[in-house]
């Protein structure tokens, strides 16, 4: 039973950064902007998050540093794609290339350092319930935060007027503009939210997942988060399912490697990436014809004054 509990705990931990980053990107994409720079914002968030926590000794300050770093990078992206009407795909790639370099530069000073990771919740009676106690009441704060984030985003998108306007911008920016909504300003806020989430997701890795920073530690998680948004059909609820499924694939292959089942470890490590490809193919196939993507996703909007 301990093994099952350990596996579920590690699945939740592995899924949380994916869920946070994908939730932010979902809001960005719902406003009609495709930001492919999630990986870049995450890795800079990881470097700054670790740096902040290492220098201050506080996990909260570290997380804030990650959020700020991700937001700052997303502002560059917003300046390019919204103000200067540059192609979003190319700009997102540039952001990832820049982020990879920046994180190495920022992180060079504290490679090899260790910090204490975020503490896990402990409520005396509840956490001690066998089996379910630690899973429900013994996580670190990020896990609860990520779930609160998803619920908040769901409420915002489907239950608030602002969310309706944001979705309108993503589905038909010309109409939203004609109705007098400030399309570019709304998209700017959506891009910044995506950046903040990506930065936080990146910071989660050295603050809660592993107690140190290594260059390239995001290992494609930003790209998997992008794929998860497609998987979710741009709906927050399905994002949770997708993220936990992916966390499970990652953890199960690790446990399989540990158990030494005779398959070379590299093949097991390739599983999450192959699973992403297969998932994209299967989902796109069933959806052929009626696409669920925001209609204006990835298109440039230049208001005619």
């Amino acid at each position: 039973m301990d093994l099952v509990e350990a596996i579920i705990l590690s699945v939740l931990a592995a899924s949380t950064p994916l869920l946070i980053a994908a939730t932010g990107e979902l809001v960005t994409e719902r406003s009609g902007v495709l930001n492919l720079g999630v990986e870049g914002m995450m890795i800079v968030g990881a470097a700054c998050g670790f740096g902040g926590a290492w220098a201050s000794g506080s996990i909260v300050i570290g997380a804030l540093c990650g959020v700020l770093a991700g937001t700052a990078l997303s502002l560059i992206f917003a300046l390019m794609t919204l103000a200067l009407a540059v192609n979003q795909v190319a700009t997102g790639l540039a952001l990832t290339i820049l982020g990879t370099g920046l994180s190495g530069l920022i992180g060079a000073g504290f490679v090899g350092q260790r910090i204490a990771t975020a503490p896990h919740l402990h409520i005396p009676a509840l956490t001690d319930i066998p089996l379910l106690g630690r899973i429900l009441f013994g996580e670190d704060a990020f896990v609860y935060l990520s779930l609160a984030l998803v619920i908040g985003v769901w409420w915002f998108l489907y239950r608030s007027r602002a969310g309706l306007i944001l979705r309108a911008c993503g589905d038909n920016h010309a109409s939203a503009h004609a109705l007098g909504h400030p399309v570019l300003r709304i998209r700017l806020l959506a891009v910044m939210f995506g950046g903040a989430c990506a930065g936080l997701a990146g910071a989660y890795l050295p603050l809660a997942y592993t107690p140190f920073f290594i260059p390239g530690m995001t290992a494609g998680r930003g790209w998997i988060a992008l794929a998860l948004v497609v998987f979710s059909s741009w709906r927050p609820g399905r994002l949770v399912v997708g993220a936990y499924l992916f966390g499970a694939v990652t953890i199960l292959q690790l446990h399989a490697q540990g158990a030494g089942i005779g398959i070379p470890s590299q093949f097991m490590s390739a599983l999450p990436y192959l699973a992403t490809v297969i998932m994209l193919v299967l989902l796109s196939r069933t959806r052929r014809g009626g696409s669920t993507a925001p209609a204006a996703l990835g298109t440039v909007f230049v208001p005619d004054r």
Binding site: V86, L102, W223, A227, V230, Q266, L280, R285
Partner: protein, 361 residues
């Protein structure tokens, strides 16, 4: 004040030529600031980066050697991007090409195989690269899956496959447990162009690829179709051009070129298969393609320029202790400025005061 973009009636030709230069100038300015932040003399650092490598014959050859894969891959990518197909997994196609070509080299090692080995390796590399690139292209055409995400995911898969091979079945038994194959036989390595130098046959192949791309894009129906499908998809449909075929075709060509670049790199400057055979050529080539304005001649120049940054970065690390990551930051910033300046070709930037905007709107 508010920034407003006005669409130009005609694309500005002058700006099309000048915009990469403006981008480079802005990048150098930004880098100077970064060098000051790192506590280095910016003039000295820029000198080490961009002037010193041009002053001795070894570095000049090394620039050509580094530019070879960049130019070859970027030419292929430019065809994809012109057709509005987003292959960003060239790094993976490069690795698979290197693996496939190395397979022949490893299997013929120590036998008296003749001079057919190298051509066979190059062919295998190109074919493997093309097939690997066709996976995301087919997923896009058949199932509508985003080629951006699938092509990128396959980079990680290729990297792990290479890692497995050089640590497992192909490891050099006399290699002290290092993850590498044995040095390739002379018949399995690229001939040098200058005795005792670094320049090898691959650079000539890259030049040949540039010429071919120039002819195909400028003088053939296929080149015309690629550009129309990318620039005006509706017009292309009315003209009866098959966009799906062009996605498959451009992916296959770019994959073949990336795979070829990979095996040339392994059979040339490196001489054996090992992890880390590419310092991200497949990603840097994306920058080369855009800096060269998706034009073959432009790509040749841009490839040489970015190769210069690799060499300069290595020298700056040795002589001035500037971290190697600065090169990546430089490349990222350059791509940002290139894209921003490209916007000048399509739009005129105007600053207008808010009141006027509201009055008109």
């Amino acid at each position: 004040m508010q920034l407003v973009l006005e669409k130009r009636l005609e694309q500005s030709r002058t700006i099309a030529l000048v915009s990469p230069l403006i981008a480079i100038a802005l990048t150098l300015l930004t880098m100077s600031i970064l060098f000051i932040l790192l506590g280095k003399n910016p003039l000295l650092a820029l000198g080490v980066y961009f002037i010193d490598p041009l002053t001795d014959s070894y570095s000049l050859q090394e620039i050509a050697v580094k530019a070879t894969p960049l130019v070859m891959i970027a030419i292929g990518l430019s065809l994809c991007y012109l057709a509005n197909a987003w292959n960003i997994g060239a790094e993976g196609q490069l690795l698979i090409g290197a693996v496939a070509g190395s397979w022949i080299a490893v299997k013929t090692q120590g036998t008296d195989a003749g001079h057919w080995v190298l051509p066979a390796m190059l062919l295998a590399g190109a074919m493997a690269g093309a097939l690997y690139a066709l996976i995301p292209a087919l997923c896009r055409v058949k199932f509508g899956a985003s080629e951006i995400l699938t092509s990128l995911m396959l980079v990680y898969v290729a990297d792990l496959l290479l890692d497995y091979l050089v640590r497992g079945p192909w490891r050099d038994p006399a290699g002290f447990n290092f993850p590498t194959t044995a040095e390739f036989d002379p018949v399995a390595t690229m001939p040098l162009l200058i005795d005792g130098g670094r320049l090898h046959l691959g650079s000539l192949i890259a030049l040949f690829v540039v010429v071919c791309a120039f002819v195909v894009l400028g003088r053939t129906i296929m080149g015309f179709e690629i550009r129309v499908v990318g620039a005006a998809p509706r017009a292309a449909r009315f003209a009866g051009f098959n966009a799906d075929h062009l996605i498959l075709l451009t992916f296959a060509i770019s994959g073949a070129l990336a795979g070829l670049a990979g095996i040339i790199e392994v059979a040339g400057p490196i001489g054996h298969l090992q992890p880390g055979i590419s310092p991200g050529y497949g990603f840097t080539a994306i920058i080369v393609a855009f800096l060269g304005r998706l034009n073959p001649v432009g790509i040749l120049i841009a490839g040489l320029f970015l190769a210069l940054t690799f060499i300069g970065g290595e020298q700056a690390q040795i002589t001035m202790k500037i971290p190697l990551d600065v090169t990546k930051v430089f490349q990222g910033i350059l791509l940002f400025y290139v894209l921003a300046c490209d916007s000048l070709i399509l739009y005129r930037f105007r600053l207008v005061s808010r009141q006027v905007t509201h009055g008109l709107g």
